[in-house]
Amino acid sequence: MRMFRVTAPASVAVALVFGLFSSISPIGAAGFKQVISFGVNRAADDLDPVTQDANPNIWAYMQIYQQLVRVNAAGDGFVPDLATSWKVSADGKIWTFKLRPEAVFSTGEPVTSADVVWTFQRAHDLDGPWQWALEPMQAITALDAHTVAITLKEPFAPFLSDVSLFSNSIGSVKAFKSASHEEISNHPIGSGPYMLVDWKKGEQLTMRANPHYYVRGLPRTPELRIIYIPDDNTRTIALQSGRVDGIDYPPFSLLSALRGDPRIDVQLNPSTAVQHVLLNVTKAPLNNVKLRQALSYATDRAGIVKAVLYGNGTPATSFLPITTPFFDKGLKAYTLDLNKAQALLREAGVGSSVTLHAMVQSGNADAQTATTLLKAMWSKIGVNLEIEPLDRAAATQRMRNLDYQVYVGGWTNDVPDPSELASYEFDYVTAKSYHTGYQSAAMTALIKQGERELDTAKRRQIYYKMQELAIADAPLIWLYYAPYTDAINKNMKGFIQLATGPWIFTNVTVTQ
């Protein structure tokens, strides 16, 4: 009796918590949910298209904004977006875009050529990570309310790709003309299917259907919540327990278990992602090309794919992602060949025992595993790899200062054209050749030729040569191509992730 008297109140309290409170999922007509909840591993922190380059930001604001043209789902071409048609002059220098007259911002203001002019001028003038995309632009003019002409300094083959870049998302000149970067970031105004209604920083973005979106009936689900759940296990459990309808980046180690869950659909979406090893070529011994080639031959890419991606990827053969135009399927790339690696090491003359130092991002399990595997692989040819874990901010600073030797990283190509990646990885002026310090007059010449050659067949040959030269000079070691991984509830239909990364929620429905 005494035991009952003292334990009963506690039992009642616990029962109250379990029993009384149940969450309610709003259900709309025809059994579809009114809200899509999508769990993500990194929080958005800046929704200004021009000022930063983090995927969580880009993929979030792509629900709000539109571009003149949009990359197609396969990532190898374009579809009309705010521009219904476009043409280029015979000399390749003047691009004319006809705008969609029915497009309207979420404020109710129509989208006009003045908005395009302001957007492009801002993206051109502001010193941001995407300024290079409009560097070829000489002038932009509004010919009438719905026609824009962009004059280039010279013909530029990838220009349409650059126009499609998310940093050229069209904003409202009326709302943003005098706005600060913080105002644009905190209160984005676009003409896309969704508009931002609430942003709990570091927690959740809530978007609702843009009432003025010109496609009637879209988006099919009126509310979208992008929820920050950093822990991989928690995010996966949130999906499996039905708390969210989909998640990004389920860990490769959990894909097999998720595939076994009858409620879950695991998606491996084609991507423009390529993982690589950056080598600082400005300092000995990695300034020795024979050593770099030796390391490339000593790397078991298939083994890394198996260990890191659990087989859900492809060993890399080129610096270009497999989905990018002009990827050379016939390229004579590096394969695992320890004999060749040892022979090259001897030719390099760096001695029989070499010690290199690798940074690795702590918290990035894939990079840590890959770096550990490299240590084991390279030890077979007498190269000792010392590993130093650093958090992201510290690693980024060391990389930018060229204060490192080896660093596993990755890239997502943002446009369906090889020029962006070629420029970033091999043009020293752009980003110190992806912070490797690599400089090659021959490569720089090929980059310029690739940008100026308008004939597709000739352009292809230029990029084929570029890929061969990249293999020969080996400033990076390309490891694998990984798909984008998403896991969604099987009741969620219509979800698309573009090869360049952004999600498309416009046609998503979730049945209860």
Binding site: A10, D46, P129, K201, S241, R243, D391, T396
Partner: protein
């Protein structure tokens, strides 16, 4: 007591100043530049330099500290470098979330520990006592992170009774969302609390004034709750005070695992992105919070034992 309390508050000022100096210097010594971290890999050197200049990070460190202290004195906690939002606009929600979590975990600890300790003390050395002591030893050997994941798997994944993450909307939703994280935080403390309370209860139960109360004919429940439990609580007040201070730091891991938008997860994110402004503010808050908890603990003692005097 008022004079004592005011004196203790006065002592907090130099300690708080020391904390501001220490954290200001420490965070600047950590490698990694906030402008690069926030702008990303593809930012140009010029844009990184421009942002550092905008934030005043290229000024001498003593000048940066002076600006920080001047702003602090006027209540200006600055703008989050990462989110470009005044810290004061994010602070109330984050603080309320962590406060809710800590109080919730404390209540759960007490709800679990007090009945178990009472039963264990009343049935001292008999099987209920032995079962309870064995059961409550388990949490001391289990890392909270592991317990949290287990609870998620059982209650969120398998049974689908409770949410896996987040804070929810509305009081009822908060109770539901925070139950698992609060239970994770409370579990180990409930074990310590129950063992200490059991010992304290046993000591009080054997005192002569309890025998006298029984001899007077008072009912068992009156003796237990009116005399024994109240007297046994004094050592527990100290434990609760220490625990509250510990819970502030302990919330960091739990909030990250359960995706709870509190001060702990905000601190982790801010350190990783080198958001100096937020790190400085939160560290100062944690330090002041710990000092206030210690002061409150001291002031609460006389409520349980009038013989205790403070000051």
């Amino acid at each position: 007591m008022l004079r004592y309390a005011l004196g203790r508050v006065g002592q907090m000022v130099p300690i708080a100043l020391l904390v501001t100096v220490l954290i200001f210097l420490l965070i600047k010594l950590v490698p990694g530049d906030p402008a690069s971290a926030i702008l990303g890999d593809r930012a140009t050197d010029a844009s990184v330099a421009a942002l550092r200049h905008q934030w005043g990070l290229d000024r001498p460190i003593w000048e940066q500290y002076a600006v920080y202290m001047r702003n602090l004195a006027t209540g200006n906690l600055g703008q989050s470098l990462r989110y470009q939002t005044p810290v004061t606009s994010m602070l109330p929600r984050r603080t309320s979330v962590t406060f809710f979590l800590i109080v919730y975990s404390l209540l759960l600890s007490v709800l679990i520990a007090v009945p178990l300790a009472l039963v264990a003390a009343l049935y001292r050395n008999r099987w209920p006592d032995q079962v309870i002591r064995a059961f409550m030893a388990l949490p001391l050997a289990s890392p909270p992170f592991w317990i949290g994941i287990l609870l998620l798997i059982v209650f969120a994944l398998k049974l689908r009774w409770l949410p896996a993450e987040g804070y929810g909307e509305g009081f009822a939703d908060h109770l539901q969302h925070l139950f698992l994280p609060a239970l994770t935080l409370s579990y180990a403390f409930a074990s310590v609390l129950s063992r200490n309370l059991r010992s304290s209860l046993i000591d009080v139960l054997t005192t002569t004034y309890v025998d006298f109360a029984r001899a007077k004919g008072l009912r068992g429940r009156t003796v237990l709750f009116g005399h024994v439990l109240r007297a046994a609580m004094l050592p527990i007040v100290t434990l609760v005070g220490v625990r509250l201070s510990y819970a502030i730091g302990g919330s960091v891991v739990i909030e990250t695992v359960f995706a709870i938008p509190g001060l702990g997860s905000w601190m982790v994110d801010s350190i990783l992105s080198r958001d100096y402004v937020v790190v400085q503010t939160l560290t100062l808050m944690f330090a002041l919070g710990t000092m206030l908890i210690n002061l409150t603990t001291d002031l609460v003692y006389p409520l349980f034992d009038p013989r205790v005097r403070v000051g």
